[in-house]
Symmetry: C3
Subunit: 335 residues, 3 copies
Amino acid sequence: MLDPRVILGPADLTAAERERIFEVASRLKSQPNTAPVPSGLRVGALYFNPSLRTRASFEQAAWLVGGTCQTLNAGADTWGLELDPEAVMDGDKVENVAEAARVLGQFFHVLGVRSFRGDGSWEVERTEPVLRRFAQYSNAPIVSLEGTTHHPCQALADHLTMRERLGEDLSGQPVVLRWAWHPRMLPAAVPHSYLLESALAGCDVRVLHPEGYDLDAEILEQARTAARAGGGDVRVSHDPRDVAGARVLYVKSWGPLGQTGPNPDDLRADWQVDMDLVGRTEEAGVMHCLPVRRNVVISGDVLESPHSWVTQQAGNRMWAQAGLLSLLGTKVGVL
Amino acid sequence: MLDPRVILGPADLTAAERERIFEVASRLKSQPNTAPVPSGLRVGALYFNPSLRTRASFEQAAWLVGGTCQTLNAGADTWGLELDPEAVMDGDKVENVAEAARVLGQFFHVLGVRSFRGDGSWEVERTEPVLRRFAQYSNAPIVSLEGTTHHPCQALADHLTMRERLGEDLSGQPVVLRWAWHPRMLPAAVPHSYLLESALAGCDVRVLHPEGYDLDAEILEQARTAARAGGGDVRVSHDPRDVAGARVLYVKSWGPLGQTGPNPDDLRADWQVDMDLVGRTEEAGVMHCLPVRRNVVISGDVLESPHSWVTQQAGNRMWAQAGLLSLLGTKVGVL
Amino acid sequence: MLDPRVILGPADLTAAERERIFEVASRLKSQPNTAPVPSGLRVGALYFNPSLRTRASFEQAAWLVGGTCQTLNAGADTWGLELDPEAVMDGDKVENVAEAARVLGQFFHVLGVRSFRGDGSWEVERTEPVLRRFAQYSNAPIVSLEGTTHHPCQALADHLTMRERLGEDLSGQPVVLRWAWHPRMLPAAVPHSYLLESALAGCDVRVLHPEGYDLDAEILEQARTAARAGGGDVRVSHDPRDVAGARVLYVKSWGPLGQTGPNPDDLRADWQVDMDLVGRTEEAGVMHCLPVRRNVVISGDVLESPHSWVTQQAGNRMWAQAGLLSLLGTKVGVL
């Protein structure tokens, strides 16, 4: 585990911290109309990539714990940030991450950062260079609002949703993380985080994807070890219909790691999710992080059916993040 | 009247609700320096079209009732929203309004949406397809922050301003809604809303515009019925100087419905508002929703004269919207 | 001094007001985790030029005094503002500053405005035409968030930092404001404000810059008068190494007034700040408003050394602005 003040992925929270997060989340969710207890918590959220859902739920999460959250947009085009503290900055980069992180770390008690589209190879980007630089120089805790490898806030919402639906003890629960066809090759942070989060919860995780779409080997191994310790396992299959027994069907598209561009059309028919596929599960709940392309990734009738948990799952983004901010606010002495 | 939780135009509020709104607005306005009473109200404001005035007044309105408002920009370019829940989404639209509305409806107790520039014909756009889809799927009340047909928040501010100037009982008051020349053909939401709002207040409404600039026939008929029930009437004239007796001169440019492009230059001279025209009224107050092109739509000396109510009218945006949010917050059990 | 409700530069605050600001800033800074005392203060911040640091620190400053701050972006491209109230607005400008200022002045108790890149000559722009128009028409106090001539909020943070490091009485303290090479010719608001602020504090100010990079003659004279009254003086030199005895080395690049474009390369070697230069001072603290180009303007080893005050200085933006908003909030009767 990294420094506990840096949340880059599911493994950066202990089991006890996760329990604490869900406890606060559930308590706040049970009284959604109550005025927050005022606190001094100042949260910043810095986006190097666009966001609508995360920025809404993260700002409201800060409000729910009595604090304030300010969203800052830092498109690579508009604010060239130099990651190398030794660089001679006579090009187009105007600020070094060392200064940026130190300054923002003074304005905010907690700093969320989204950065998932670097220019480097997968081997470089998987080290989360931007987020780690912020963590290195900031005096405030850093929370990934989606990096290259993980999306820990989404994972907390996913976990909370499974607990609400299947009970607190998820050990041994059969869940399926299933690839879906999408016109474009998407980042893999969400599937990595669901894989690891459900493994940490002890689920029995099946990962279904076409050949050539392997997830990160190290994260896979980390998840396998965690799942086995908790009463489950991790297994990979290339059969799109290998969903028998599943209680959760987590649908998500991703590209071969580090690649962009279109996905091949010949995968489309086999890998869409429809009622037929859901019928092969054990009354599984269908999860997806949204936005979802209707009738391409998941059919409309599945999304409109009682099998769909996607609305609840998205709503839990706010409550789970409120739990996380409550935890971090306590750690830094504000709450 | 629509579902009371959906405010698309003036007719979506009852007379009693409007009274309640003005009562709260006036009370808050009378103590502008007082700290708000904290509440749990979370308001979202989603803009498909740009805004500066509305976003400022709407955010501050939420703050005035002890809540928070988060502004979200959803330019059609940056967040392609599919309005048809049955669509096969393999094009450039990444999210269906069904999911978007359900998600945002969980984060916020009240959701404001601005969407006034669709691609369809007037017959399609006048049904407010975007706003109605949000209303259909959101669990939270929807407030139009300017649609194609109406701008209900502007109408409330207009009404509040008339009450402050002319007294609470506006029945039979002679008011003029007068077209003005503007370089471009503008949307008609504001004139429609002023027409209907003043008619609902029982005013005697004269609508002046050049031939070919007719307002929506159905809204005109709805206004006429409402005005007659309240002691007034609605009459249309093409004479730019037909302002005798008017106590209000509401100035606004609009284009032939559904059209864009430049307005013909030959209308310019006759349709500008200057001191001569104001002198033909019964000491009318001059109203305009702003922004206004000085010395083109209204002359500078009118705007600087005591006849101008435009500053007060703009300020009332904030107070009237605070009244509206107070009403809706009460309806959803937060306030 | 201007109308006390208009803060365009350091001279628009009295010594007593400045003391009050620092007192509040220091008190708030000493309890950074405490929940703010709720107030009704509504602050607006309107940006005609981009900002990340100022918008973060200014919003958080409002929060620290129990209020709210709303940031509004008004790029000249997206919201053409006409500065002449007599203009016939049939071109591309859609709103007159008279209306804009009156409206925003109703929504907010205090209005911050950033506008430092006008199209006019230095003689025109140095009169701060945008900021002064806002001051003329707004009913609310106006605070420059960086104009053409001054950046008063930066000056307060600079002054607070010097007090924290060198003690409250700065009279006679030898400080150096030193030009540095930068690829582009930058605005001069920050050096002007440091010059005048340190002079008002009674410092003994040396200004070092290459020939042809003179600061504004009137501001220089104003600073000289102020410094002499307080026990110091202002002296200009073109020697980049004239730093002996300095307790502060304030580094900043600027262009010949009113000019843009690249700076000549032949100035680069002599005007960079490195450990050798710092060693020639009297253990001076190195200040810079940030962002700073590492190893071009200031070397990385200086920035990482105990000589660097830049992080503390940037953090003080928030606390100093909270002090300023506290002062203004009191003046308008909200706090």
